[in-house]
């Protein structure tokens, strides 16, 4: 018999986790669909379940000089209205799901779910996001690319919970997110892309690209980005084909019910090309 607990504080949640293993339900928009068995019966979860959507410590959005701290269970729609949330993340959230799902879905859920097509992960990789995880006795902060280890694989210990998403405050000359899906809302991405650039006197000061749904995790390659820092905008534009060649080994999508390898590869590369050409 699996257990269900509804802790009313983070301390209570961490106490439960120090004794037994649980899976988390935040908004429920993924977990309920995954485990629903097409009946009127309660959802037949296979593990102990902890409901965390209402825990006050997971619902705050705060800032300091360098970072924005987003509670793991703050609903996506509330983030759209929060002045602290970076515009690139807001642009992405607007493309995610529908109003109904944004009212319950959370960033913590998108991170914990670790789908290669998780839309919010793409700007979060771009913005050097840290994932804060808490246990009864410790707090760890991991880079998102270290926390997410593969398809639905995360570096979360059995006694830990995702508490906050920590996003660097950054200004760019241009930053954009593009999602390619079959419908305005409620569509899981075929591919997604985010790019950001800062130009100082026509010279590249910062350059970042992130690709969703083309590998087992979001693709970001600082080793390629750094090759084009301190180049002029003209030199960057002249290097488009070279940049594309450098990214090709990492754009390794799969065929599935939503799209196929050829389409995903071509569109991803076109999105990269388009971002640079339109600068």
């Amino acid at each position: 018999m699996v257990k269900t607990v509804i802790p009313s504080s983070l301390i209570e949640a961490l106490e439960y986790l120090s004794n037994e293993q649980y899976r988390f339900v935040a908004g429920g928009t993924d977990m309920l669909i995954q485990y629903h068995n097409r009946s009127l019966l309660p959802i037949a979860f296979k593990d102990n379940i902890m409901y965390i959507a209402h825990i006050p410590e997971l619902l705050s959005v705060t800032e300091d000089d360098e970072n924005i701290y987003i509670g793991a269970c703050e609903p996506l729609e509330a983030l759209l209205k929060n002045d602290l949330v970076p515009q690139l993340l807001k642009d992405t959230i607007l493309e995610m799901a529908s109003p109904a799902i944004r009212h319950t879905g959370t960033l913590g859920g998108n991170v914990g779910n670790a789908s290669p097509a998780g839309d919010s992960l793409v700007p979060m990789y771009l913005l050097n996001t840290l994932i804060e995880v808490r246990s009864k006795h410790s707090t760890r902060r991991l880079r998102i690319q270290d926390f997410i280890q593969g398809v639905r694989k995360i570096d979360l210990h059995p006694d830990e919970i995702i508490s906050r998403i920590i996003i660097n405050k950054l200004e760019f000359t241009k930053a954009s997110f593009v999602k390619v899906g079959p419908r305005l809302s409620d569509a899981i991405s075929k591919v997604s892309f985010a790019g950001a650039i800062t130009l100082v006197n026509g010279v590249v000061d910062d350059l970042r690209f992130a690709f969703g749904a083309v590998n087992i995790t979001v693709v970001r390659r600082p080793d390629i980005e750094c090759l084009y820092i301190n180049k002029s905008l003209e030199e960057l534009k002249a290097s488009i084909d070279e940049i594309i060649e450098k990214y090709k080994p990492y754009i390794k999508p799969i065929d599935d019910q939503r799209s196929n390898k050829e389409y995903r590869t071509t569109v991803s590369i076109n999105l990269l090309r388009g971002f640079i050409e339109e600068l």
């Binding site: 269900t4 339900v25 429920g28 009127l40 309660p42 959802i43 109003p99 809302s185």
Partner: protein, 157 residues
């Protein structure tokens, strides 16, 4: 079993139930609120939409555990308001109802939108309805109906 308290259409409710149940099943089976429809059961069609703390949610993907101390309004409760009458009249006038299966969800989506944005643009209406599917009308009449409701209900939202 857990004691769960919430407000349903303005009335305080206390029930002993399994927190792992879907809100959709609780509303239809325990309270016979069959205006809440099950379409896809996956959060894609919006037929099961209700208001939770006055914002649209899909009741097929809301666990009962997440309803504790919340304020839930279904189409049955919303039908008692003057805002509903304006939306109903606009849907009728503009031909926004055909088979009717999506209509409760569409009306909940309209209320959730107009409550936040009493004078939405066409694009804002499309975003507001983007989680609700209709296989009859082609949406144009529904968009017109919301424009009309926004105009006729001036001051209500």
């Amino acid at each position: 079993m857990t004691e769960i308290k919430f407000r349903l259409n303005g009335v305080p409710v206390t029930m002993e139930s399994d927190p792992n149940r879907r809100l959709l099943d609780v509303l239809r089976e325990d309270f016979e609120m069959t205006g809440v429809k099950e379409g896809c059961g996956e959060g894609e069609c919006g037929a099961c939409a209700v208001l939770l703390d006055h914002e649209i949610v899909n009741s097929c993907s809301v666990p009962l555990a997440n309803c504790i101390n919340k304020d839930i309004v279904t189409i049955e409760g919303f039908a008692k308001t003057s805002r509903y009458k304006v939306i109903k009249n606009a849907f009728e006038e503009e031909g926004a109802v055909q088979c009717g299966f999506c209509t409760p969800g569409m009306m909940i989506a309209s209320e959730s939108l107009l409550n936040k944005n009493p004078n939405p643009s066409d694009q804002e209406i499309k975003i507001g309805l983007s989680g609700n599917l209709c296989r009859c009308t082609g949406y144009a009449m529904i968009i017109k109906a919301i424009q009309k409701a926004s105009k006729d209900g001036d001051g209500l939202w």
